[in-house]
């Protein structure tokens, strides 16, 4: 079972005490434990079981404006003694940085809402196997499906964050994740696709058969793809790809990219970067939310932020170090966003498909083609040609390219937002992108 709060707190306070004794003027520590149990199936048979029990500790010590950190998976006191001594020694030898500091005391979280992030239910491997049997049986109904792989993971985690300014808090979280990957084949091609569900509470997990069927349907419809010519065309991003555009936006407004001057959105606060209809929220207090939290990885309280209001950028994502550098207060985003999403647009998914006589519906992108310094975007893509609101045929071996500065201004959103991941977007259309194909 995952270690309790008392064990983690004891380790944390031992480290803070020792760091102080060895000469650290300030320090912070995170102790965590995560226990996962996974069962994998392949072609309706058990393929793998995996149990992991991970302990970890990371300590940062300060001597004035000097800072250094260590981390380890070995929590025995002997080892911690050696490591903390090494950490303090390294701190002494590391040059000062005027912005190094723990968070200001008044910014640290003091209230801790119960966000409903822990389900005590334990699902035995045999029950996981029953779920996966149902899933794979539904996934392999169609003869075109030639391979199925599926997986069920239960994770229980616990952590404590403590610092020498008196902060000490942490909580348990749980997640239950099921996924299905299927391969379909016909004379001309072999294709792969997937479906996935992850929830804090076991009872909220998607139905096994539904999940398997969805994965299979999404794979079969990709068979016998064509390559199309190069042209300028409207691109519709499936929700699972659209959320990636939002993640790139979040990276581009991180205070570290802004303070280093390496983001195309530097100095764009209070400027219009999206069209009027676009709002972006980061809401940390959604019950059972996959990104929910009371405080960030430095202990700073995390409130809801409307990052983009009617197309205008309102905030960066600020941590303590970069906040001090930019002369801004931390808004509790050390470690990134919480539950980040685009608010719904005004039109239905169907109307979005219908809004152009011809468009491309993208279900998968590959490659690391987002450059947040220049805003340039170019990735490999797979999807469907859409004509007059109908899926005509699958396409692949194309790339789509543009620049985020223009892409952001040309986004239209459907009204089909759902909270499936920590970062979520409704279906998204972007006009004016370039497709490279034949």
């Amino acid at each position: 079972m995952v270690k309790d709060q008392e064990f983690l707190e004891k380790k944390a306070s031992y480290c803070l005490g020792l760091a102080k004794k060895l000469g650290a003027t300030e320090s912070s520590v995170v102790v965590n434990n995560s226990v996962s149990e996974t069962v994998n199936f392949r072609n309706k048979k058990l393929d793998e079981s995996n149990r992991s029990d991970d302990l970890g500790i990371s300590i940062t010590t300060y001597i004035g404006k000097k800072k250094s950190s260590i981390s380890s998976s070995n929590l025995l006191d002997d080892n911690l003694n050696i490591l903390i001594e090494k950490c303090v020694e390294t701190t002494k030898n590391t040059p000062e940085d005027e912005f190094n500091s723990l968070p200001d005391k008044d910014l640290l979280a003091k209230e801790f809402k119960d966000l409903n992030l822990y389900d005590d239910t334990h699902i035995e491997n045999d029950q996981k196997i029953d779920y996966l049997k149902k899933l794979e049986s539904a996934a392999s109904n169609d003869k075109k499906i030639v391979n199925t792989e599926s997986s069920f993971t239960q994770n229980k985690s616990n952590f404590i964050l403590a610092n020498s300014r008196g902060f000490c808090a942490g909580y348990k979280t749980s997640s239950f994740t099921a996924s299905s990957v299927t391969v379909a084949k016909d004379e001309k091609s072999m294709e792969r696709d997937y479906e996935y569900s992850s929830k804090c509470f076991l009872r909220d997990l998607d139905d096994a058969e539904e999940l398997g069927k969805q994965a299979a349907d999404q794979t079969i419809r990709k068979l016998s793809p064509k390559k199309i010519g190069s042209e300028k065309i409207a691109i519709i991003f499936d929700k699972r790809i659209a959320k990636g555009v939002l993640s790139t936006f979040a990276s581009s407004i991180s205070s570290s990219a802004i303070s280093r001057g390496t983001s195309f959105l530097k100095d764009k606060v209070n400027q219009k970067i999206f069209s009027d209809t676009i709002n972006v929220l980061d809401k940390p207090d959604i019950l059972k939310g996959l990104g929910s939290r009371n405080f960030d990885s430095e202990g700073v309280k995390t409130d809801t932020l409307k990052l983009v209001d009617q197309g205008i950028l309102k905030h960066y994502l600020i941590d303590t170090y970069n906040g001090k550098k930019l002369n801004l207060k931390s808004n509790g985003r050390c470690g990134g966003t919480s539950n980040l999403y685009f608010e719904n647009g005004n039109i239905s998914f169907k109307d979005l498909l219908n809004s152009k006589s011809k468009s491309l519906y993208i279900t998968e992108t590959i490659g690391h083609g987002s450059n947040i310094v220049t805003g340039d975007y170019s990735v490999g893509a797979t999807g469907f040609l859409v004509e007059n609101g109908e899926f005509k045929y699958p396409i692949n071996e194309i790339t789509i390219a543009g620049n985020f500065i223009d892409m952001f201004k040309n986004i239209t959103l459907a009204n089909d937002l759902e909270f499936k991941y920590a970062t979520n977007s409704p279906t998204m259309m972007i006009e004016g992108m370039v497709v490279a194909g034949k």
């Binding site: 950190s69 260590i70 072999m190 390496t262």
Partner: protein, 470 residues
Amino acid sequence: MSNFFEKSDLSRSEAENIISDTLQKCDDGELYLENSKSESILLDDNKIKNSSYNSDLGFGFRAISDEVVAYSHSNEISKNSLKQSSENLKSTLKSVKGTYNHEIPKSNKKYYENINPIEQKSLNEKIKILNEVNNYLRSKDDNIKQVTANFLGEQKSVEIIRSGGETLTDVRPLIRFNVSVMLEKNGRKETGVYGVGGRQSYDSYLKDDNWKSVCDEALRIASVNLESKPAPAGEMKVVLGPGWPAILIHEAVGHGLEGDFNRKKTSAFHNLMGQKVASEGVTIVDDGTIDNRRGSLTIDDEGTPTEKTVLIENGILKNFMQDRLNARLMKTKSTGSGRRENYRHIVLPRMRNTMMLSGNQTQDEMIKAVDKGIFAVSFGGGQVDITSGKFVFNCTEAYEIVNGKIGSPIKGATLIGDGPSILKEVSMVGNDMMMDPGIGTCGKAGQGVPVGVAQPSILINKMTVGGTKL
């Protein structure tokens, strides 16, 4: 070498008993112990931003029966913890009736020295070099707006204990030195990145002010990109430079030739063994035995000595890369390709140093043979969908070719191609094979492992370039 049982209530002989007891009647399996120490020192924005040290200790216990793998890992090397793992494995593999395969090849060869690179250079010396890098670059070009430089060093000790007590060990050093530069001119920003590394001491890569040439290269790439214009969109001829662009080989065919995807028949190559998959003159090997290279290993993570595996010989598909599990199920031998990121992960067949060997043409001949196309010199990352065979990679330095001459630099663009057919489109193979500088990390199933690549210049008849200029 780490003594994993020194501070534990578990003795080596007790561990051996638990291992043998758990694995009897299994087909294969082992206890994998790992102790790694790593450091990261980062200079960014004119300051030492980070100096951190990590020490990681743990075990992974694996039992295999037929096709089923049971795995359990923990950070606590103790009697209790190993017994719990054993129970966990037994409960997954309820009724096993296999015969444990004790056979494992032996070799005395070592491809790197038993050193700890972290301790071979003091923190102060490392900080001094990083500051010199910063000053050197910023004094070279007024347009430099950002310099990032870092040292990453690691020593990983592994021990593999098999049923019956057979023990295999390895100590693996690894370092990397990286420099990234951002230039800004007339409101436009571009970056250049370069690095070096491998399984030797920092000084082997930095001696005689060699760090200056790493800086110069990063600055050169950034300067070229500052002058770049939009890349073309569509199908055209592509000349790839030697060295690091071989990640094309890694993505396009390497992953598709890993044993697991072929046993499961999910790779586009699974039914092509012995067939022609590349142009004549194309030979590709995956070699774990090159001294001190980033992708080299004395033994893999199952204890098998690595080797030089011929994947494609003169255009014909010859071998897949195998770990023990996939080799057994495909009735062949492990090629010493069983790897894992660390003790938290199961073993998978992976690449080591993947290389296309030299032919006899020159890069000049290739450029002259292109009317309209691009010349790609350096890449960022790549990715492949092994089922459809489609792969991509991102150019970080490329030029247009017009009428047999190299023209202006073009902006970073993604190139996309089809793995099983791309090597048939190779029409010239250069005589200038080069290894990459030692910077590659390959990701598969959430596990990153260090790898190397090499190739000569090659001419590809047809690839799709993902630019914005129609």
